[in-house]
Symmetry: C2
Subunit: 126 residues, 2 copies
DNA sequence: TCAATCTATATGACGCGTCATTCAATGACA
DNA sequence: TGTCATTGAATGACGCGTCATATAGATTGA
């Protein structure tokens, strides 16, 4: 019943879990310590930073991340409270919101991104 | 500042995240629906099932999973409440506990494992 | 053998993500 | 234009994982 293939699958899965958790934890701690934001906050910040257009984006964000819509909403709450991002209402669809980095947000993002990339390289690349 | 290598790293990381989350969510939902246990509960059950010796294992479990010691403790709480596992005190070190599957635990595990492996195959291997 | 230290596990407060629901705005269609 | 369904986002209850701590048992060394 426990075939060799099963064992391989389980091994593969555990190794994915481990590398995912170790990397995520390392980044999360570092960002928390140095910039006082968590990994998910950074990921959203990063997505906002890389989208140049001013399209309505709360929705789009949800499609680029495994986070739930409500998770995104709450992450944005925190980012907004921290003064890193602001929600702008959207003229063409008043249900929608788009996000903009504040100056503080842009500054923090560019510093944090360096750290983020470095930790990715350390944990993913050899 | 945003080098090509950086972009590649970020891409790689997002793809890991996505495959991790999608797989974990799929397994979690399926196990929840069919067996009323979550993914972490199953993982612990799986670890207990595959350790043949009767060594004191709460500790050992913590080393084979990215979960925290307290997370393991709480997962075991739930498994015990569900009657799938029992905590046995350890003669040679009375601080330690080892775990044993109950009959119900063994039965559920062997059914759930089939589902688990199938979903791994579906999500990891093509 | 007694104190100091260490180790295995449990526990409570807390933060975050999820689900279900809600609300407002939009669209579709008669 | 009025109704009904749909969509973008926010919210509250809830479950789970984490951190810091607590507790009981083990170990070391004078």
């Amino acid at each position: 019943m426990a075939t060799t293939q099963d064992r391989q699958l389980v091994e593969q899965w555990r190794s994915i879990q481990n590398s995912y958790f170790r990397t995520a934890a390392a980044i999360d701690r570092a960002l928390e310590a140095k910039f006082d934001i968590g990994l998910n906050e950074f990921e959203i910040l990063d997505l906002v930073a890389e989208s140049v257009d001013s399209a309505c984006r709360m929705k789009a964000l949800g499609e680029r991340t495994p986070m739930t819509q409500s998770a995104v909403s709450k992450v944005v709450d925190r980012l907004e409270k921290a003064g890193l991002v602001s929600r702008m209402t959207c003229a063409d669809d008043r249900r929608s919101l788009y996000l903009e980095l504040t100056d503080a947000g842009r500054a923090l993002h560019s510093d944090a991104a360096v750290e983020h990339r470095a930790l990715l390289k350390e944990n993913l690349g050899e």
